[in-house]
Symmetry: none
Subunit: 207 residues, 4 copies
DNA sequence: TATGAATGAGACTTCATTCAT
DNA sequence: GATGAATGAAGTCTCATTCAT
């Protein structure tokens, strides 16, 4: 790992990662060329290999490091929240807002994470699992609080929640149709989930 | 269109499509070689180009034709259903069951459809939209029947539903962990959605 | 060689040759596809191989047979001519007029004959040599008549004459600029050659 | 443009061009393989694409750059000449001598320039036109000097001259028959042209 | 004789990666 | 550390030719 001044190795490494996000999000991993990322980062082709093992490693590093930031960010916002429903709302809003704060990153995650999960040899998306863990935590808390159904299958539910949010993001990314605007999607998906996860009389609470 | 005996063009074309599903689902579109698909189909490399314009066209044809079958299949099963909730259950079950009936196809759709939507020039996934349409129809009917919330945002909801199902499929495909078995996932996702989509007293109906 | 009725094999063979001229002249030998010629002839791809050994043979046959017609034609016209100068004029006019009567053929000869002379294995352009022979004959006759210089190097001169005519044809074919119209070129090239080939006072005769 | 030391980019580019001339002249453009040229240049296949856009570009660059040298060379030699006839002689001799100084180049020009003029999309053989321009200049000067016929059609004549020279070159290239030796051809073609271009009594001057 | 689907060798070109400077 | 020219393996696709019908 090349690091010297705070302004040197780490900086260059970051420029490369940011450029990679931009390029990957525009053209997809397989259609992006290492030399393109180099040019966009303002470094030489070879320099990329000083910071990353290879093109795959660039994608994986990007996932782990940027997802790490996302996980840390959402955890912090949630810690300020109230009950599980409130936290769920925060999680949803946070996810959808990423679309605007970190558009490129989200696009890469959406499209390439799937590929990687299947096709990159020996890659476990650690940070992605942590992100799912954040959802689990909320769901478990909701069950403990008696807010969510006691029979709620947390493993399945967290995937469903992630899947729904992810597809809504993709839809907006592809169409930029205002009817899928993050704020609109957030509200509706919250309503569905609040209704579907809650125990007894969710309608009273959701309303 | 090369076709002669009943045993000729259409058959060969189908063998190629089936092989493509197998290979694409195993290694992903970009990691699959045309010559591999040829070998798996028992035809020469060049033969593939008699039936498909190029590698992209092979993927697109696969999407459209196989998704066409899926859409037709689910429409038929739904037409036999009762109210919107019953139809939703049928839709969910049907989707998750595809994982076993058409594992390869589903895997390709999940991973590659995203790529394609973004990166294949000039490709509109017609049949995929029809599939979403099937969900819309159910949701609209549910609203008319007074079963679903009148304020339900159908556009958003159908995407959320598809996303949830899709992610659950992917999870099972990747892990084959029984805790995500189609039957388990189906039941839970139905419970969530039934709760979240319904008007007034969903708990009574879902229970 | 397949022949049956006058309307059968020979006819089909001719259709293929005519189509080949058209296609070769439009796109060049290497850029033309056998299947294209088949389509243009209204026969199946395989049929071409009943009449010609291969693609090269198609080009060579075309040269020999069509050049044969050209040679026969110009010989006949010349036999009606007067002295060597008159015959030269006929030859020149005839050559340039071919541009309009047999445009495609001339274009193929111009562009492809060169290739063939160099690169087709074991090909001697017999009919092309006969065409040159026609020029030699005129030049020799002119020398015998005392009309042309006695020191005229016939071998070189006939090539120079052919080269000049050929380039003028190519120029017109490529530009269709009226300043290179066959009639204009004919007149000028005749004036040059008449002046340059003749003995003593060519200007008197050429005027 | 890859260039560093004096021993680097430009040198490698030139080695490739020289190899291309050799290979193209031996086998023709279409029968030459890029990998063959790479081997003959002592570089890797991919290296060719660092210096040339593609195979077509290699041919075109070769034309333009080498013809540029030829044009510059002949212009310089001519500038030392006397009247138009003397210059014409220089031009002719120079052209025929290229056969020995630059055999490969001339062969490529002869055979492939024609193809290219017709079939390479969007290619204007700029340097070839300049070469023709050199002839025009001589002819115009001859007319001004009263040496050449005032009614001489310069456009046609320059093409005829080029065509005659070109065909004589090709003949020698193909046969290496001493009766077409450059020195022999030069003398004869000069005699023909001197006779044919001149005004009034060319025989007096040519004699 | 005629067909045209099938073949498969091989061409061009790309691009991740290396390494001498 | 940084560079970027060079590499060369490998992929997509074409097309002349064949042969079962």
């Amino acid at each position: 790992m090349p690091r010297r001044g705070p302004n040197n190795g780490a900086d260059k490494r970051n420029r490369i990662l940011r450029a990679a996000i931009r390029i990957f999000s525009q053209k997809g991993f397989f259609n992006s060329k290492v030399s393109e990322i180099a040019r966009a980062s303002g470094v030489a082709d070879g320099t990329i290999y000083l910071y990353f093992k290879n093109k795959d490693d660039l994608l994986i590093s990007l996932f782990e490091e940027k997802m790490g930031d996302v996980v840390a960010g959402v955890r912090q916002r949630i810690s300020a929240g109230g009950d599980a429903l409130a936290k769920l709302r925060i999680f949803i809003d946070n996810h959808m807002e990423l679309l605007e704060r970190e558009a490129g990153l989200i696009e890469v995650l959406q499209v390439e994470l799937r590929q990687s999960k299947k096709f990159l040899k020996d890659y476990t998306p650690v940070k992605f699992f942590e992100y799912l863990e954040v959802i689990s935590d909320i769901l478990e808390e909701g069950k403990r609080e008696g807010l969510f159904r006691p029979d709620l299958n947390v493993s399945v539910a967290r995937r469903a929640i992630f899947g729904a949010l992810d597809e809504l993001c993709l839809t907006y990314v592809l169409s930029h149709n205002p009817k899928y605007h993050p704020s609109v999607s957030s509200a509706e998906i919250y309503r569905i989930l609040a209704g579907g996860l809650c125990a007894a009389k969710p309608s009273a609470q959701a309303g």
